[in-house]
Symmetry: C2
Subunit: 334 residues, 2 copies
């Protein structure tokens, strides 16, 4: 049984590895040879480091699962990764982030103006690429892509709003991550489904899978911030606490804590974060309140909802690939 | 003869006035009722002040001239204005501009993060609107819109690059304004033509009109910066010199000047601008070198090229409207 699962996993990884190279190539080529250098070199700097390329892979796998083939969606896959990188560049400015993927962020490496503009241009190239893959249903696919973008902007705005608010609830947190993270993952699955010419039901199933997997993905991200390996994760552990971010862990802890524990959490809001030396203390508080376990349970629950959605995919191999994908997302350490 | 021209002009102004209201309404409605407020109120702040709405008007007039009607292009007209405002918001950050249309710029009124994000969201809503008007040829129209956006980014990047370069030529200036200003005006005319289902020739003629009118428009803008009425123009006269911008006037002056005059101009580059008290001195230098006259000549030449392009429009009334439009652009004082 174990052996069978491993064989399948190897099969999935093989697909991803091969297709990832095609998309990598497409992403980079989309920026090479364009002028002026002052605009496109910074853009290239952002995409050259790679990253998980989760979103492009979701587009390709969705296109295949919907009845199409990978090549129906190569440009769209590259497009969505460029759009994702556009959001990262602008978010890093807003969050005053100094590092991304173990390298200086764009506005640190260059300057503010360059980063804003290079971000904008990544988005514009994303649309250019996407349109290349739209033949029979351009308006529908572009609308899906665009709705994803609108939600990402709204999610980031809520995230910024939460920074200064003192009464954010776990429910509001879900609205925020649905927009900021899950919407784009949902969009990838929907666009893949549309490009693969899936039926209405299949496209919806894929999109729903993306939505719930995206929610699980974000809570996993929150969890990894405090439990992950710094080198693997590429960010400093406990960074969310240092910045006073209202993550799942923090808001769940706040809703459970009483007395002195509650006071300690409210201090994080009051002081807009904690000092690095206090990370361990707060990690222990999270453990005491059981929110690390809560987060793990929630990730599992959401993953199961996601997997339930794709039970209607006609092809068993495709279903298995999505199972493995979901499993790799919730078991990742970076 | 004069009376006839006046009657025509009144006719044109009447069209513009009426259609402008429809587009104004469409622009504002596109942002009303959306959440979160923290994202869309700042966006609304940007568009509520109006402005010339030149770009939407060009889309509508082009749609009509191509054989369609205004209503084929209302959403596209609003879309292009939102996209234009997106570029203004981001440009104002990059240029450190404190005022726009006599009010604080967005990053001054709110903050940097809000301005970046509100700008991004204006662009995303622009795409949403545009897609609404695309029925028969979504990919072609979206490509046109998107190419315009790419060129605007490239133009802005060149403009920023010019700030620190000492050897910018008038020829390079033309490349920059073609991208930064003319490309979007060209795009408006092309999109209008496509939405009006014009023939290939008519669409090209309209696009070419837009390109040359756009070049004339930008040089007129450079000229107004130093000759315009401050209250009317909404910017401080001589602001380009204060900021050391490499405008048509400055580069033409630099290429003509000798001896001490040349040294004075090179000082502007060296010192990255001039002091406010020296504006008059430099205006006199421009007059002495004849570059204000050169600019006027160039504006007229480009306008004539633009008008030549639309001679093939089948309907005389449409041609006349474009003549009046071009004339209002080169005779404007704001």
């Amino acid at each position: 049984m174990k052996e069978k699962a491993e064989t399948k996993l190897t099969g999935y990884l093989k697909i991803v590895e091969k297709e990832k190279k095609v998309v990598e190539d497409r992403i980079k080529k989309s920026l090479v040879g364009r002028k002026p250098e002052s605009l496109y070199s910074p853009g290239y700097y952002v995409v050259e480091t790679g990253g998980k390329r989760l979103r492009p892979m979701l587009i390709l796998l969705s296109a295949k699962a919907a009845g199409g083939s990978f090549k129906d969606a190569y440009n769209a896959a590259a497009a969505v990764e460029l759009m994702h990188n556009f959001t990262l560049v602008h978010d890093d400015i807003m969050d005053n982030a100094g590092k991304r993927r173990n390298r200086p962020t764009l506005h640190v490496k260059y300057d503010l103006s360059t980063a804003i503009l290079a971000g904008d241009s990544l988005l514009s190239i994303a649309y250019e690429l996407l349109i290349k893959d739209c033949n029979h249903n351009a308006a529908e696919i572009l609308n899906a892509f665009n709705s994803g973008l609108i939600e990402v902007c709204e999610g980031q705005s809520l995230d910024k709003e939460f920074e200064t608010r003192k009464d954010v609830t776990v429910k509001e947190y879900y609205v925020m991550i649905q927009k900021k993270t899950a919407a784009l993952i949902e969009t990838c699955c929907r666009i893949g489904g549309l490009l693969g010419r899936g039926s209405k039901e299949v496209v919806k199933a894929l999109a729903d899978f993306g939505k719930y997997a995206g929610l699980a993905f974000q809570i996993q991200d929150d969890l990894l911030d405090i439990t992950g390996d710094e080198k693997e994760f590429g960010k400093i552990c406990g960074g969310d606490l240092v910045e006073g971010k209202k993550t799942y862990l923090f808001l769940a802890a706040l809703s459970k804590a009483k007395g002195n524990d509650k006071k300690k959490l409210l201090d994080v809001i009051k002081n807009k974060g904690i000092e690095r030396k206090d990370i361990q203390t707060y990690k222990e508080l999270y453990e005491k309140l059981g929110v690390l376990k809560d987060a793990k349970k929630e990730i599992l629950r959401l993953s199961n909802v996601a997997l339930k959605k794709i039970e209607l995919l006609p092809n068993q191999e495709d279903r298995e690939i999505f199972y493995e994908l979901a499993s790799s997302l919730i078991n990742r350490n970076k």
